[in-house]
């Protein structure tokens, strides 16, 4: 099966500019996640969607970050305006729904964002 796709793979912007990332999950996976991974740290969940509804966005800095998942498939994550501390790898992952317990998450290749 095709894996999780993300684009772009790399992005360099100046602070205060805007940027958007795109993710296409594995076909049939109802749950989609966006993680932020700062250098030297583990991935941190920003937002979780189930179909096109938000399950958890408690860690999303909503003053500058936004995400949507229209039609319950592709998703975009936007940062506006970017700050230097937003420099990180942004990972998208997807998984099927499971009634109990946690399903394996399948990760995309990530987008490396550098804010100068």
């Amino acid at each position: 099966e095709a894996g999780v796709a993300q684009s772009p793979r790399y992005k360099i912007i100046e602070k205060r500019q805007s940027v958007a990332f795109w993710c296409n999950p594995i076909s049939g996976h109802a749950t989609l996640y966006w993680y932020q991974q700062i250098l030297g740290q583990g991935p941190k969940l920003l937002i979780q969607f189930q179909n096109n509804g938000v399950v958890d966005d408690s860690q999303l800095p909503k003053d500058r970050f936004s995400a949507e998942r229209l039609k319950g498939v592709d998703s975009t994550l936007k940062i506006q305006p970017a700050k230097l501390e937003d420099s990180a790898v942004y990972l998208c992952a997807s998984s099927p729904i499971r009634r109990q317990g946690a399903y394996e998450q399948y990760f995309g290749p990530g987008t490396r964002l550098t804010v100068t």
Partner: protein
């Protein structure tokens, strides 16, 4: 609050030697624990989970609720085991979101 601690950022072992990557967690309920691995120039991927109680690529991990640990072990390290290893916890049933540790970079010396 949930927390995953991986005390070693870097770990080097010789080929054929045993390896143990440490992971301790803090969670008030009954978590599910995972090990994810990222090989050079590859995606982050699941290595194993505690509920499966299986050995993957020779690696095993036992959940010790008394010590709140989930250490990853392999009796004989191979060069292809060199990678970044992340311990992760999933808390709320049905939520499926993961909380990751900071990772340990394992280098197996030939």
């Amino acid at each position: 609050a949930q927390r995953v601690t991986q005390p070693e950022k870097l770990l080097s072992v010789f080929k054929g030697a045993p390896v143990e990557l440490k992971c301790n967690y803090s969670y008030s309920g009954s978590p599910e624990l995972f090990w994810y691995v990222q090989y050079s120039r590859q995606r982050l991927q699941l290595l194993l989970r505690h509920i499966s109680r299986e050995s993957i690529k020779g690696f095993t991990a036992d959940l010790n609720k008394g010590e709140t640990s989930f250490h990853l072990k392999k009796p004989f390290a191979q060069e292809e085991d060199s990678a970044m290893y992340y311990c992760a916890l999933s808390g709320r049933t049905g939520a499926n979101n993961l909380f990751f540790g900071t990772g340990t970079r394992l280098t197996v010396i030939p």
